[in-house]
């Protein structure tokens, strides 16, 4: 296990508190927790790609960064329509 994989594991461990907030908080709190979890997961994918020495894996992180934004924005728009 190298430093990159350790970094990825530490970042993914940060998703657990986000899940706890999403479960226990309001829906707006859950949305904020989802945004932070998306960011952490994207960064973990970058660290995993470097940790496994596979440059092609970086494409997954690029796509996750873009689609994570779109997915979260869908939730924001959906909740705005409830106002």
């Amino acid at each position: 296990m190298n430093a990159w994989l350790g970094t990825a594991a530490a970042l993914l461990a940060g998703v657990v508190p986000c899940g706890w907030v999403a479960l226990r908080g309001t829906r707006l709190d859950a949305l904020v927790a989802l945004e932070l979890a998306t960011t952490l997961a994207t960064l973990a994918l970058v660290a995993l790609a470097e940790g496994f020495h596979r440059s092609s894996y970086f494409v997954v992180a690029v796509v996750a960064g873009a689609l994570g934004f779109v997915g979260n924005l869908v939730f924001v728009r959906f909740m705005e329509s409830e106002l």
């Binding site: 430093a3 990159w4 350790g6 970094t7 530490a10 970042l11 940060g14 508190p17 986000c18 706890w20 907030v21 908080g25 309001t26 707006l28 709190d29 949305l31 904020v32 927790a33 945004e35 932070l36 960011t39 952490l40 994207t42 960064l43 970058v46 660290a47 790609a49 470097e50 440059s55 970086f58 494409v59 992180a61 690029v62 960064g65 873009a66 934004f69 979260n72 924005l73 924001v76 909740m79 705005e80 106002l83």
Partner: protein, 94 residues
């Protein structure tokens, strides 16, 4: 262990520390708008530090370029998403 490896390790530790502060802020925040500050901060500093670590390690390869692209994507799109979420939170408060 050369200076390059030390620099990479320092950048990685700093990025994890910044991400941990953001997660702790998410847990400690009282309202969603307070928590949003930490979620927004996580789109700025940790991606830049990880991209810097990859660039230091790979020195101009495609992996470094991809890491910088990811950091810029997360930074720019994250700022837009944080703004949209803040507008939603303000609308719910009014």
């Amino acid at each position: 262990m050369g200076a390059q490896d030390v620099a990479v390790d320092v950048l990685l530790v700093l990025s994890v520390a910044c991400a941990a502060v953001c997660v702790l802020g998410l847990l400690a925040g009282r309202a969603a708008i307070d928590r949003l500050h930490y979620a927004g901060a996580a789109t700025g500093v940790p991606p830049a530090l990880i991209a810097a670590a990859v660039v230091v390690k790979e020195r101009g390869s495609s992996a470094g370029i991809n890491a910088v692209v990811v950091a810029l994507l997360v930074l720019i799109l994250g700022a837009a998403l944080t703004h949209a979420t803040a507008r939603l939170a303000r609308g719910r408060r009014e």
